[in-house]
Amino acid sequence: MESTTPTAPGTPGGTEVRVVLVDDHAMFRAGVRAELGALGPGLVHVVAEAADVDEAVTAIARHRPDVVLLDVHLPGGGGVEVMSRLQGSVTRAADAPGPRFLALSVSDAAEDVIGTIRGGARGYVTKTITGPELVEAIRRVAEGDAVFSPRLAGFVLDAFAGSIQVTAVDEDLDRLTEREREVMRLIARGYAYKEVARELFISIKTVETHMSSVLRKLQLSSRHQLTKWASDRRLL
């Protein structure tokens, strides 16, 4: 095995994704680390681990990873607390983009899934996921995509239809457009992004655009947050 020689940055196929692993079960952390390591060097590198909210915030601030693998149930307030604390410090730092969050949880309860996505996670996978699938999900999140499993897409559809009672779903949650609904339904039926694109005669990029607007609609609950979102991106 050669020493870690990072390939040229900017080529998404070649760069190693730096990951901080947050989970309160040491056994599980060890398992994930071993599994990610076994899949070969140069793909995913676990730079740090953390067991609770405070440790996670410190570790992420120090190591500045690309992706944070985040457990949802965490001592000190849960994964959402980690994201909200870091979002505060990131807006203060302003220049560097924050890490992307991928939730990795044993729970697949609707409140947890939707709550975590609304807290700012780009994806949500359950712990039964296989190693290669996990690496794929990490890379997708690192490149800015959202990771939607069929189940997650189902929850999203339900949340927007109002049949899931999520504690913080507001009345002024934007509605999904017909197209976004179609995309989510196909994802819920087990289609991959490229199959969705083929089925609807649109490009994969368009599918990803629909995805990220669904994410945005989920995360922004009020006009106040919408204004903040827009001004953060210098759109106002």
Binding site: D24, V72, H73, L74, P75, G76, G77, G78, V80, E81, S107, D108, A109, E111, D112, G115, G119, T128, P150, R151, A153, G154, L157, D158, A161, S163, T167, A168, D170, R185, A188, R189, G190, Y191
Partner: protein
């Protein structure tokens, strides 16, 4: 010993008396009217109108409202979530509820209404020495009660720490809670002072006696709600403890079953397929108990689909991922063929597709229930299937069409197969 007699009866099995509670979700003043409306199954507007009408009868409505605020428990305590979620909440591993600016419209309207009533009363009856002190005292007491509500709610949400007397009163001590306390106390004290001052021309002894009596009364009114609530909290805590013990029993039972499975897995460590099957079945049982709370019984359509999926998982060693969207419809004669057809499709996918994963998506809309069974397996050429092979045609397509639904199969080699089922439902 069978598993059936270890399992304690679920709390739902006992008939629960219907108890009125104040609505903590949409309270305007104390949630009395909306709670009562839910209890009596009446529109909330009627109840409010009844209260207002009763107020005309010498203030009876106000007295009733106040009494019910005092005596009715808040309904927040009856909420229960799945044990896994409650456990995570109790140990502080989940985010707390998000505080939002509540709608202040109703409060302003109520305030205006009260002011109008006071002014009207003054216009007709004339300003007495009593009126303003009474109004002040009323507002003060309402504020104090409101704070008692808030503190009570926080006591219920936070079960981790011990409650000091200060926290019992102030809750977690937000500025709003202190403001309410101080304003309430000031208003009550002000009312007493105003009342005493307005009667200053009478003899001194009278004043002293009155002040003392009023002070005691005020104290009683202020402390009364807390004493009462403390007593009712104790009862509720006992109920909670019983519930926790019941859960612990069920958890013990599940741990037993998990341990059994693990033992079996150790014995069968060489047989990968058996291990996977055992682990999958155990995971499904535990997960549905801990997190999902959705039915797997045969009473509802989604429940029946999930049951069918579980059977296919166990019998064919594939994992079947069921995603359902919409309100779970009851399993009527109309929908039964849909469930049968979906089971057939799942079995086909498990047997012939050659993959270990099947996706099932069911969506209940207002006019139809749609169901998709998809695999990513070998796929086949529909046209090449000989006419005497009845599997798909008879048990899926024909079955659906006989019962007024539609079914189509899309398959292409290497890309897998998707069976699409649709059964229209009529609103009756």
């Amino acid at each position: 010993m069978t598993t059936a007699d270890i399992l304690p009866p679920s709390p739902d099995a006992w008939p629960q008396p219907r108890r009125a509670a104040r609505d903590s979700e949409h309270p305007v003043l104390g949630g009395v009217a909306s709670g009562l409306a839910q209890h009596l199954a009446l529109p909330v507007l009627w109840v409010r109108v009844a209260f207002v009408a009763a107020t005309a009868l010498g203030g009876l409505g106000v007295a009733m409202y106040a009494a019910m605020w005092l005596f009715l428990p808040s309904d927040a305590r009856f909420e229960t979530a799945a044990p896994g979620l409650e456990g995570a909440t109790r140990t502080g591993k989940r985010p707390g509820p998000v505080s939002r600016l509540t709608d202040v419209g109703p409060a302003i309207a109520l305030g205006a209404l009260a002011l109008g009533l006071v002014l009207a009363f003054q216009a007709f009856v004339g300003a007495g020495g009593f009126l303003w002190p009474l109004v002040l005292a009323g507002v003060g007491v309402a504020l104090l009660w409101r704070q008692a509500d808030e503190a009570q709610r926080e006591r219920w949400l936070d079960t981790t720490g011990r409650m000091g007397p200060l926290r019992a009163i102030f809750g977690t001590g937000t500025w709003a809670s202190y403001l309410r306390m101080v304003a309430g106390a000031c208003l009550v004290a002000g009312a007493i002072t105003a009342f005493v001052l307005s009667n200053a021309d009478q003899s001194l002894t009278w004043d002293v006696a009155l002040t003392a009596v009023l002070g005691i009364l005020g104290l009683g009114v202020v402390l009364g709600p807390w004493v009462l609530r403390l007593a009712s909290d104790l009862g509720a805590e006992r109920a909670e403890r019983i519930r926790t013990q019941e859960r612990a029993d069920v958890a013990a039972h599940l741990h037993d079953s998990v341990l059994q499975t693990l033992a079996l897995i150790q014995k069968n460590a060489q047989d990968g397929a058996t291990v996977a099957r055992l682990a999958r079945a155990q995971e499904r049982e535990l997960r549905s108990w801990l997190y999902v709370g959705e039915s797997t019984g045969p009473e509802t359509t989604f429940g029946a689909v999930r049951e069918a999926a579980a059977r296919v998982e166990d019998e064919h060693g594939v994992s079947v991922d069921v995603v359902t969207v919409g309100e779970d419809p009851a399993l009527t004669e109309v929908l039964r063929p849909l469930v049968h057809a979906s089971r057939e499709a799942m079995v086909n996918a498990a047997k012939h597709a050659g993959t270990d994963r099947v996706d099932v998506y069911a969506e209940a809309g207002p006019d139809a229930v749609e169901l998709f069974v998809r695999d990513r397996g070998a796929g086949f050429d529909l046209a090449a299937v000989p006419g005497d092979r009845l599997g798909v045609r008879a048990s899926i397509v024909d079955r659906m069409e006989r019962h007024g639904g539609t079914a189509s199969v899309r398959s292409s080699p290497r890309e897998g197969t998707e069976v699409r089922l649709r059964m229209p439902v009529e609103e009756d």
